[in-house]
């Protein structure tokens, strides 16, 4: 395993974890562009732009893009989050060149007006599809409830109204501001010919004009609120609870991962024993998510509507007890075993490592081996967990419930 990196004269970065024993090559264009970079009048544009990358470039029609990826047997796709848009593909090593050619090309899409109008219909369908899956939209509402105007609370998809109102001109302007050498990084893992990767990316992107990454940090305030949305068509009642946790640059993030695993993993955790195993709820879990200047603890629960209040008491008890007493050594050790095993298994596939290498680089300009992650997990103590609980109380934050209930008796 060898880490390589290179920066082009215009500032564009190329990083790779090279493993000559790997059977495949995973490649990605990681763009620092997501919902948090948007304004109200272009809500949803980052995700829309992700779709447009597959609609053709000056050198390729939309059909060419899809066909050429398929011709090299690529397993490829793209996703957009609050702060990144990632285009990626896994191929056999002999197809590194055509895959890089495609990825470097589609991040400069043509953005033709007729393609824009056609794809708008697909995205409006995507929004309708999610609206049929309760409690879609609730995650954004609870982020607003907890973090107010922090840009990470913005919706990735936007709304039917905001997407309908988008213009090709507004998208082109957004593209110019977020897709430049300062915000696009090419990442590779597995069986990688790094020298050739650099040569090829330089040929394709070396002529891009130098840009600045103008994303700023935002102060955080936590809202201790609760709210509910009546959704008559839903069968189950859903509950989301959100509060702040260590962010992507915080060394306490490993302690946070172990804490959430012990308290709220989908099996063998405190929430599992107190809520899921007795059949009180359909599901209950606690996760930790890290963003550039904000981390969050995310609690999720779904149950029969009439059981909401009783389960809310149980859930609050689990969180309050963890907050009060911390974890036991046994719980910490079990959580450690689970996470370490997942890190090792993930490390065996170049396509899993691609995201770890890429997101680490975007967040911290840092390369971490899987072994360094294992060492950090190994080093976490009960005192670290205590400290992270004091810094970020699990019992704080905002709660939202969605489902058929008209009224909720909040405890």
């Amino acid at each position: 395993m060898e880490f390589r990196s290179h920066t082009l004269p215009n500032g564009l970065q190329i990083v790779a974890e090279c493993n000559e024993l790997a059977l495949s090559t995973a490649l990605g264009a990681f763009v620092s562009a997501g919902a948090r970079d948007e304004t109200d009048d272009v809500a949803g544009v980052s995700h829309f732009l992700e779709h447009m990358a597959f609609k053709g470039t000056p050198r390729r029609s939309a059909e060419d893009v899809n066909r050429e990826f398929d011709e090299i047997g690529a397993h490829y796709n793209a996703y957009t989050s609050e702060e990144h848009t990632v285009y990626y593909g896994t191929v056999l090593p002999e197809y590194q060149r055509p895959c890089v050619d495609l990825l470097t090309d589609i991040v400069r899409p043509s953005l033709r007006t007729e393609d824009f109008e056609m794809e708008k219909q697909v995205i409006l369908e995507e929004i309708q599809m999610y609206l049929d899956q309760p409690p879609y939209g609730a995650d954004e509402q609870v982020k607003l409830l907890c973090f107010g105007q922090h840009p990470v609370a913005r919706s990735v998809l936007g709304t039917s109204e905001s997407v309908s109102g988008l213009t090709p001109e507004a998208m082109r302007s957004y593209f110019d501001s977020r897709y430049g050498p300062a915000t696009v990084t090419f990442v590779a893992s597995g069986a990688v010919d790094f020298d050739d990767l650099v040569k090829q990316v330089e040929g394709a992107c070396g002529g891009w004009s130098r840009t600045e990454d103008n994303r700023c940090s935002t102060d955080i305030t936590i809202g201790d609120n609760h709210d509910h949305v009546a959704q008559a068509a839903a069968t189950q009642q859903y509950l989301l609870k959100l509060t702040a946790g260590p962010d992507a640059g915080d060394s306490d993030r490993y302690a946070a991962k172990l804490l959430t695993m012990a308290v709220g993993d989908d099996s063998g955790s405190r929430m599992y024993w107190d809520l899921v195993d007795p059949g009180h709820v359909e599901s209950a879990s606690l996760g930790h998510y890290e963003y550039q200047d904000l981390g969050m603890y995310y609690t999720w629960m779904s149950c029969a509507p009439q059981d909401l209040e009783a389960n809310l008491v149980r859930l609050n008890d689990v969180l309050a007890q963890a907050q009060e007493d911390g974890l036991t050594q046994d719980e910490l050790d079990r959580a450690r075993s689970k996470i370490k095993s997942r890190v090792v298994i993930g490390n065996e596939r170049p396509r899993s490592r691609l995201f770890s290498v890429g997101v680490n680089w975007l967040h911290r300009r840092e390369y971490r081996t899987a072994q360094q992650d294992l060492d950090s997990i190994e080093a976490v103590t009960l005192a670290d967990v205590r400290r992270v609980l004091q810094r970020y109380p699990l019992t704080s934050g905002a709660t939202l419930t969605v489902g058929p209930r008209e009224k909720i008796a909040w405890p």
Binding site: G73, M118, M129, L131, H280, E348
Partner: protein, 414 residues
């Protein structure tokens, strides 16, 4: 590129398959036992699922909490699912966790406590799952499509019905376990970092004395009432179409599979291109060939807003019919490249490899080496697929829709 696959058939009928790969730090296993939901007795739909749930509530000398805690302490990532014919238990973790995890799973399969005082908790878990499906319209639709398309009991959902699950007793669970958790037809497939000889010794110790139960009477299959439209208050109309194909052990299976790949494999495939890319009709449209041991079908799905649902159905149906006109060489070239890389990528995951080994054995009675599979794929031509499609074109469709309004069936759809 094939690794060596080892096989051991125990006298009691259980089969052990192993594909050691020294480059792995992890190991994974898939255990299939012949305890699927087609064995649910009349009026007791959901019993196979409840029994699977109950086996994890304590086994051997561990109560439920100790069982899960011990698996967690080993770092084992696990999953269980109940299919039509089998229950499937999957586990993966660090290589050194394999042997102790297998010891625990031998208890789960052979010596579960099935504690009567936890039957209500187990039942609640099953009921919660049934309720959850109600909030997933596409899942609910495809479940109904399978039920309609396959003769009973082959399309039954394993979760059963709320009314039947409410009636299940601890005695039902014990009887189901006694009759169906047995070595005849059980398959244990292991892949990743392990040594075959050492695992053989362990598996012999854990399973060689597992005895088959007396043969019991088979439950009669329940009657299924046909439904073509499920009224549902949703933003989208969900469309499901199915037609018969050939199962995995059939000589033409890969011809059938390739024809479905042309329809729906990769973003240059016909359904994605015609329905989504050219017309912008929907976000999700797909087709897949799903094979049971003795039957198979192609299941297609599209979800779209109501005003465009009829056009989506008509275009999707037309694309299925158009397969009869044959496929082109360039479509096949894409598909082959994709299959070739899938075969190699699968070898990078011990858990997907163990699943393939187990399912190969179940459906073929042997494991098909990767090299043999490559040779079969190489031999497929546009002519061979077209010849297959002439003999078995997509026809006799089953259509089910879910949404606020029913759609008009295109000609030829029952």
């Amino acid at each position: 590129m094939s690794l060596d696959t080892h096989t051991l058939e125990l006298p009691n009928g259980m089969v052990l398959l192993g594909e050691p790969n020294p480059s792995f730090q992890s190991a994974a296993f898939t255990m299939l036992a012949p305890a699927g939901c087609r064995h649910d007795p009349a009026g007791k739909a959901g019993l196979a699922s409840l029994t699977c749930e109950m086996t994890l509530r304590g086994a051997g000398d561990r109560d439920g909490r100790a069982l899960i805690n011990d698996l967690d302490a080993l770092g084992v990532d696990r999953g269980e699912s109940v299919g039509v014919s089998q229950v499937s238990l999957r586990a993966s973790g660090m290589a050194e966790a394999l042997a102790p995890a297998l010891e625990i799973y031998a208890d789960i399969l052979r010596r579960p406590l099935l504690p009567a005082d936890q039957i209500e908790a187990g039942r609640m878990v099953c009921l919660q799952e049934l309720r959850g499906i109600e909030d997933e319209p596409s899942h609910k639709l495809m479940q109904e499509l399978r039920r309609q398309h396959y003769p009973s009991p082959w399309g039954l959902p394993s979760q059963g019905e709320i009314d039947t699950v409410k009636r299940l007793t601890p005695h039902d669970v014990e009887a189901f376990h006694g009759r169906h958790y047995q070595p005849g037809g059980a398959i244990l497939a292991i892949a990743g970092g392990f040594e075959w000889e050492r695992i053989v010794d362990l598996v012999q110790r854990l399973f060689a004395d597992w005895e088959a139960p007396d043969e019991g009477a088979q439950a009669p299959p329940p009657e299924i009432a046909p439904v073509t439209h499920i009224p549902y208050e949703s933003n989208q109309c969900h469309i499901g179409l199915a037609y018969d194909s050939v199962p995995y052990d059939h000589d033409d299976y890969f011809q059938a599979w390739a024809s479905v790949g042309v329809l729906s494999g990769g973003m240059s495939s016909r359904l994605f291109t015609e329905v989504r890319e050219k017309r912008g009709l929907c976000y999700t449209v797909s087709a897949s060939l799903q094979s049971q041991k003795e039957r198979s079908a192609v299941f297609c799905y599209a979800g779209t807003t109501c005003e465009r649902a009829q056009e989506t159905l008509d275009v999707t149906h037309a694309e299925l019919l158009k397969l009869r006109d044959g496929i082109k060489q360039n479509e096949l070239d894409c598909l082959k490249a994709r299959i070739k890389s899938s075969l190699i990528l699968q070898q990078e995951s011990s858990s997907s490899r163990s699943g393939s080994l187990a399912h190969d054995w179940y459906r073929l009675g042997r494991v098909r080496p990767v090299d043999e599979l490559s040779a079969i794929i190489d031999a497929i031509t546009a002519e061979s697929i077209n010849k297959f499609l002439e003999g078995q074109p997509p026809e006799n469709f089953t259509l089910v829709t879910l949404g606020p309004e029913p759609l008009e069936s295109p000609v030829g759809i029952s």
